[in-house]
């Protein structure tokens, strides 16, 4: 319990800092009790095009989730239910993608993005993250756990494969869909290095890149910066708190399925 409170202390501290004036003396009570300087918030809010940045983040994260869901469902269905030559080999190839660290990709993908004129666009922030190894793996696991007869029977009915996936498969793997959506959404919202390198204008930049730029320009105005930290983190933290049960059971079931 105490550990829980200790983990929350930084949150409390940044909220208090966002409500203090810059010249506050450094006594324990002064830095741990708020002085209600709401002006810090209006100063921070006026300093960057926040609504635009929030909108960009929402758009990028939602589009990435939709694309990742589509590719994961299709590929997970194929690997879990369909039989075809080279299935094992292809699945091995997909899993090997996990071994490649993102930092390795930033240089060549920057060059590629430049070549296809995708630098400083939404596309470069969406499409490369629109396929997820974790998502494919999870959907496949779910389909492997279902009795194969369901799909054989549907085949006798003459349901097309794609319709079979849509009308029978998707309702059965709903928990996987929830886990993938939440994780992809959060990962997209929280990403930094990629959009930081790939974009340069606030018209397409996400809120985290905007926050880093704000910190770079106003590094000494701690209260305003804390205010910006608070209002950019609050939505994503709220999102997590409302849906925390799904995040936690999702991660737990991932680990429960790990075998030596």
């Amino acid at each position: 319990m105490l550990a829980g409170l200790l983990f929350l202390l930084p949150f409390y501290y940044v909220v208090v800092t966002s409500l203090n004036s810059a010249s506050v003396s450094a006594s324990v009570s002064d830095i741990l009790l708020p002085h209600w300087q709401w002006a810090n918030y209006s100063r921070a809010w006026a300093a960057a095009p926040w609504p635009r940045l929030f909108l960009n983040t929402l758009l990028i994260a939602s589009a990435t989730v939709l694309l990742a869901l589509a590719t994961s469902l299709l590929a997970g269905f194929a690997f879990g239910v369909m039989r075809f030559r080279g299935r094992g080999l292809l699945f091995g190839l997909v899993m090997s993608v996990l071994m490649i660290p993102g930092t390795v990709l930033i240089i060549p993908d920057y060059i590629i993005a430049n070549d296809i004129n995708w630098l400083d666009t939404y596309w470069i922030q969406i499409v490369p993250w629109g396929a997820s190894v974790f998502g494919i793996f999870l959907v496949r696991q779910f389909f492997l756990g279902l009795p194969q007869e369901i799909f054989d029977a549907a085949e006798l009915d003459g349901a097309g494969r794609l319709r079979m996936l849509w009308s029978i498969g998707i309702p059965l793997v709903r928990p996987a869909i929830v886990i993938i959506s939440l994780n992809v959404f959060l990962a997209s919202w929280n990403s930094f290095l990629w959009p930081f390198i790939m974009t340069s204008s606030p018209d397409v930049q996400p809120v985290e890149v905007g926050l880093a730029a704000f910190a770079g320009a106003n590094g000494t105005d701690f209260p305003a910066l804390s205010a910006a930290v608070v209002f950019t983190t609050a939505p994503v933290l709220l999102f997590f708190l409302v849906l925390q049960r799904h995040f936690i059971t999702g991660a737990m079931s991932t680990a429960g399925g790990v075998r030596g």
């Binding site: 590719t71 299709l74 194929a78 804390s226």
Partner: protein
């Protein structure tokens, strides 16, 4: 037919992950001209040679910083999260709330919360120094000190990451057999003996998983270094990932950056394989 269904995912992987990995190797053999690719010059392994000969900062010191950070994250993170998982594994409303509190930092963007920790470590107004002053302990200077900058970044990163691995361990604890623990208790084992001889061996697969994902993610960590220390002071927190960013996107030495990326890739792959191997050997011998 199956090929068709896997095609969209495979297309994205090929264009943005698998192809680019090979391309990195290619670029690393050039004196790459970022403005005009046609003017790039093939120089063989020269980028790798200058990597070894570099001085400010030296490649070896950056590699050491990467290992320092990753080692601390793997050992500290695994130990801490296992301890928390054991504490939090019983249900109940309070412990459920504590679980959420421990997991919450992991859901926050690194940009935002690492900035919050910059204030915590601030020498004038910071929470850390104020508390130390209040109990008359010396203040180490945190992010301003070459010795303490790395531990400060590690402290933040543990705070941010541990919640996730706690939950992974909770998942592992949820599926281990309760009969064995029961039997151990009936045989008169104390709590420590029960943990060491019964619980811990059954957690090995999860532990291995935690160790592997923690080492991969900490070798790649970038944002907290960018926000908290900019690789300093005097390169004390310049890791391979931070160096790669600097060389490729601040100094625009793309070929050299690519060589660094290949080294980072090799280190990550070696780490993962080594841990898998050790894991296999342990599970075979037990």
């Amino acid at each position: 037919m199956g090929w068709l269904y896997t095609a969209p995912a495979l297309l994205i992987f090929s264009v943005f992950i698998i192809g680019p990995t090979a391309y990195t190797l290619y670029v690393s053999l050039f004196h790459w001209n970022a403005l005009n690719t046609a003017k790039s010059k093939y120089i063989g392994l020269a980028n790798y040679r200058s990597l070894l000969g570099s001085t400010a900062p030296s490649f070896l010191s950056s590699a050491w910083h990467s290992l320092y950070f990753s080692g601390a994250m793997v050992i500290g993170g695994t130990a801490l999260s296992l301890a928390f998982a054991l504490l939090l594994q019983r249900g109940g409303r309070l412990l459920g709330a504590a679980r959420v509190a421990v997991f919450a930092p992991h859901a926050t963007p690194v940009v935002a919360t690492s900035l919050a920790w910059v204030w915590i470590f601030n020498p004038q107004f910071g929470l850390a120094d104020t508390l130390l002053k209040a109990v008359h302990l010396p203040q180490p200077g945190w992010l301003q000190s070459t010795t303490w900058a790395m531990p400060s970044v590690i402290a933040y990163s543990l705070w941010h990451e541990v919640g996730f691995t706690v939950v992974l361990f909770l998942g592992g604890l949820a599926v281990i057999s309760p009969e064995l623990s029961e039997a151990a208790r009936v045989d008169g084992a104390n709590a420590w003996q029960e943990f060491w001889h019964v619980t811990w061996p059954q957690l090995r697969p999860v532990t291995l998983f935690v160790v592997i994902i923690t080492s991969i993610s900490s070798l790649q960590a970038f944002t907290q270094f960018y926000e908290m220390s900019q690789g300093g002071p005097v390169y004390a927190t310049t890791t391979l990932s931070f160096l790669l960013y600097q060389e490729a996107f601040v100094f625009f030495d793309t070929g050299y950056g690519a060589a660094l990326a290949i080294v980072l890739f090799a280190v990550t792959a070696a780490f993962t394989l080594l841990q898998r191997r050790t894991g296999d050997r342990i599970s075979r011998s037990s």
